[in-house]
C-alpha cells in the first residue's frame, strides 16, 4: 500500500476443520443423524492449538463437555437458558473472534488508507472494524469484540478485548468468559497466503495463554464476491416455533 504496509485486501478463507473442534478430532456424525444423515456430519482434523491441547481449568473442562452435549439445544423461553444452551453458531449468533476466521465461509479484508480496516465475514454478515492510532477502550461488550490494530513490520497485529462472554470457539463446546483477550497476527506468506495466529488469554477459564495458527488462503475465482449468508431466517422455526399459533402457515414466498 501507499503507506508502506502490506496489502491484505482480498477474500480469504481458512481450510481447516477447526470450527468443528480446535483440537485433534475424528470425523463425527451431527447431533441428529436420524434426520440429517451424512449432511450433518463433520470432517476429521488435526489440532490447530499449539501443543495440541487447550489448558482448561478443571471446572471449565467439565463445562466444555456440557456445552458439547447441549450444542444443538436451544430454549429462548426464559432468560436463564437463553444463552446457556446451544452453540451460538447453531442459533446464527455472531461468531466472535477468532472463530469468525475459521468458519467454513470466506471473509473479506477491506484495507484503505484511513485509520480503519474493516473485515466482513460471509457467515451471518458479521462485520468488525479494526481501529488504528489512539483508540479508547471498548464502551460495551460486543459479540465481535473491540479491535485495535497496529503494524509490526509485515504483520498486522489486532488486539481484541471487550467481548460478550457467550460466544464459543467451536462446535465442540470450547468457550471463554468476559475476560477473553485475543491477539491476532496476520502475516503475508505469499501473494496467495496469510499466516494467521491468535493468542488466547482468559484467566477465568484457562491456566495459561494458548495459541492457534493456520494459513489463510486467497480465494481466486474470477468475479468472486462475498454472498449473503443471513442465517436468522434459518433459525426462526427452531427458536420461535413453540410460540407460534397452532396451524399458522408461512405466507407464500417466505423461506422456511
Amino acid at each position: 500500500m501507499a503507506d508502506g504496509h502490506p496489502d491484505l485486501n482480498g477474500i480469504w478463507q481458512a481450510f481447516v476443520s477447526a470450527d468443528w473442534d480446535l483440537q485433534d478430532h475424528e470425523a463425527q456424525s451431527g447431533p441428529h443423524p436420524e434426520i440429517m444423515g451424512a449432511y450433518g456430519a463433520g470432517p476429521a482434523g488435526l489440532s490447530v492449538v499449539e501443543g495440541g491441547a487447550i489448558p482448561y481449568q478443571p471446572w471449565a473442562l467439565e463445562k466444555k463437555k456440557q456445552n458439547f452435549k447441549n450444542r444443538a439445544v436451544a430454549d429462548v423461553s426464559n432468560d436463564a437458558k437463553w444463552h446457556e444452551l446451544g452453540d451460538p453458531e447453531f442459533k446464527c449468533y455472531m461468531p466472535g473472534v477468532p472463530r469468525a476466521t475459521y468458519m467454513p465461509f470466506p471473509f473479506q479484508i477491506v484495507q484503505g488508507s484511513s485509520n480503519y480496516v474493516l473485515i466482513s465475514y460471509e457467515y451471518a454478515s458479521a462485520t468488525r472494524i479494526i481501529r488504528f492510532g489512539k483508540v479508547d477502550d471498548s464502551p460495551a461488550p460486543a459479540w465481535m469484540g473491540w479491535s485495535r490494530g497496529r503494524w509490526e513490520g509485515e504483520t498486522l497485529v489486532v488486539d481484541v478485548t471487550g467481548f460478550r462472554e457467550e460466544t464459543w470457539f467451536d462446535r465442540a463446546g470450547d468457550f471463554h468468559s468476559d475476560q477473553l483477550h485475543v491477539v491476532e497476527r496476520y502475516t503475508p506468506a505469499s501473494p496467495y497466503h496469510l499466516m494467521y495466529e491468535a493468542t488466547i488469554e482468559d484467566p477465568k477459564v484457562f491456566t495459561r495463554p494458548w495459541k492457534i495458527s493456520f494459513p489463510l488462503y486467497r480465494r481466486m475465482e474470477k468475479n468472486l464476491q462475498l454472498l449473503e449468508f443471513k442465517c436468522v431466517p434459518f433459525t426462526e422455526e427452531l427458536l420461535f416455533e413453540r410460540f407460534t399459533k397452532q396451524g399458522a402457515k408461512a405466507p407464500r414466498g417466505e423461506i422456511r
Binding site: M1, A2, D3, N9, V76, S77, W82, P88, C92, Y93, M94, Q108, V110, Q111, G112, S113, S114, N115, Y116, V117, L118, S120, S125, A126, T127, I129, R131, D136, P139, A140, A142, W143, M144, R164, E166, N223, Q225, L226, L227, E228, K230, V232, P233, T235, E236, L239, F240, F243, T244, K245, A248, A250, P251, R252, G253, E254, I255
Partner: protein
C-alpha cells in the same frame, strides 16, 4: 414518512430488540461543524466546482468518502402540506419549520392525554438527538424529484400483488392487535433480518450511522443496523446472475467525476425488502455519494420501478461526519431478540384467556 411515527407497539418492539444497542446511549449530538450551503445542497454547478477542490482524496486518487457518517434529520421524506408548496424556505421560515418538526417528533413532550404521555415513555434518552434537526439547506422534503416533493402516484396492482398486499395488511393488523400468529407477522427489522442496511438508506429514530471504508476497487459501507457491510465493487465487473437474490441486493459502483454512483439490483422479493412493497423484478436503486466538504457528504438515491410508481423519484439526504469524536458500535439484534418471544407469548396467553379482538388490516409499520 411512516417509519418516523411508530405506533407504541412498534416502538416497544424496537426498544426491546435494540436493548443491546450501545449507540442508544451515545453522547449527545454535536451540531454539524460547517453548514452545507443551500446552493451546494441543490447541486448548483458553482458549488460543485468549489467542492471539487476541497474534496480529500485517497492515495489512489479517488474522492475520499471514508469515515463515520450520520444521516439523522427531522426533514420529512415527503413535503408536508403545511409549507404551502415551497421547496426551499428562507431563514425565518426554516427556523419555524424546524421548530415545528422538533415539537412534533420529540418524545420528551408531556402534553396530551395520559395514554399519549405513556406512549412517549420510550423517550429522547434512547433516540438520536440529530433526528430533531432539519437539514441545513432549508428544504421542506428529502424528496427533490418530482418537484412537488411527494412519492409519485402508484401503478394499480395486478391480481397476485394485490392479494399479497392484502394478506400482509392482515399480518400487520395481527401484530398491532398484539396477536401475532408467527414470526411472519413481524416486520423484517423486528425479526432482525435487515434494518437500515438495505438500500435506500433513510433516517430513523436512532443508530443512523454508516462507516465507509475505501480500498482500491471497492467502496464498503457498514451501516450500524444490522452489521452487514455492503461491499461495492467499482472495477466494472458485471452484476450477479439474475437467479441470485439478496436481502441487500447486489451493488455495482462507478465514479462520475467526484460522485460515486451505485446501482443496486438482484433484491429478494420478500415483503419489507423493497421500498413501498415494490416489485423485485423491475426494482432498481441508484445512489449518488458526493463529498461536499470536510464534514458533509450528500447522499442521493433514485428509486425506479415502473410496475409500482408512475415515474422514478429521487431523495437527497446530507450526511454529517462524526468521527473521530464518535465511533460506531456493534449492533446485535437477533442475539437477544426478546421481542418475538414476548409478543408471541403474550398473543398465546390472550388466546388462552379468550381476550382476542377482531383483526383490522393495517398498513406496513416499517418501510426499511
Amino acid at each position: 414518512m411512516k417509519h418516523r411515527f411508530l405506533t407504541l407497539l412498534g416502538i416497544l418492539a424496537m426498544a426491546i430488540a435494540c436493548s443491546q444497542s450501545p449507540a442508544a446511549a451515545q453522547a449527545p449530538a454535536t451540531p454539524a461543524q460547517k453548514p452545507a450551503s443551500a446552493k451546494a445542497a441543490t447541486g448548483k454547478a458553482t458549488s460543485k466546482a468549489a467542492a471539487r477542490t476541497a474534496v480529500p482524496r485517497t492515495p489512489w486518487g479517488e474522492p475520499d468518502l471514508s469515515g463515520v457518517w450520520n444521516d439523522a434529520t427531522s426533514t420529512p421524506l415527503q413535503r408536508p402540506s403545511s409549507v404551502g408548496g415551497k421547496d426551499v424556505l428562507n431563514d425565518e421560515e426554516a427556523e419555524e419549520f424546524s421548530k415545528e418538526l422538533e415539537h412534533n417528533l420529540t418524545r420528551d413532550r408531556r402534553d396530551g392525554s395520559a395514554a399519549v404521555d405513556v406512549n412517549r415513555a420510550y423517550n429522547e434518552h434512547w433516540m438520536d438527538a440529530r433526528r430533531l434537526k432539519a437539514t441545513e439547506d432549508h428544504r421542506t422534503s428529502l424528496i427533490v424529484d418530482p418537484p412537488d416533493g411527494r412519492i409519485p402516484a402508484l401503478v394499480p396492482l395486478t391480481g397476485e400483488r394485490a392479494d399479497l398486499k392484502k394478506a400482509r395488511s392482515y399480518a400487520n393488523g395481527r401484530f398491532l392487535a398484539g396477536l401475532p400468529d408467527s414470526v411472519y407477522d413481524f416486520s423484517l427489522p423486528v425479526r432482525c433480518i435487515i434494518r437500515t442496511d438495505s438500500p435506500p438508506y433513510l433516517p430513523t429514530i436512532y443508530n443512523n450511522d454508516f462507516q465507509i471504508v475505501q480500498s482500491p476497487g471497492f467502496v464498503t459501507i457498514a451501516p450500524e443496523m444490522i452489521h452487514s457491510a455492503r461491499i461495492i465493487p467499482t472495477d466494472g465487473r458485471p452484476h450477479l446472475p439474475g437467479d441470485i437474490h439478496q436481502w441487500l441486493g447486489d451493488s455495482r459502483g462507478h465514479w462520475e467525476g467526484d460522485t460515486l454512483v451505485v446501482e443496486t439490483t438482484n433484491f429478494r422479493a420478500d415483503e419489507g425488502v423493497l421500498f413501498g412493497g415494490a416489485n423485485a423484478a423491475t426494482y432498481k436503486i441508484t445512489e449518488r455519494f458526493t463529498r461536499v466538504d470536510a464534514t458533509t457528504l450528500n447522499y442521493e438515491f433514485t428509486v425506479e420501478d415502473p410496475t409500482t410508481w408512475t415515474r422514478p423519484w429521487t431523495a437527497r439526504i446530507p450526511w454529517t461526519k462524526i468521527d473521530p469524536a464518535e465511533q460506531m458500535y456493534e449492533y446485535a439484534c437477533h442475539e437477544d431478540n426478546y421481542d418475538l418471544v414476548h409478543f408471541m407469548s403474550g398473543a398465546r396467553q390472550r388466546e388462552r384467556e379468550g381476550k382476542t379482538i377482531p383483526i383490522k388490516p393495517a398498513d406496513r409499520i416499517f418501510d426499511n
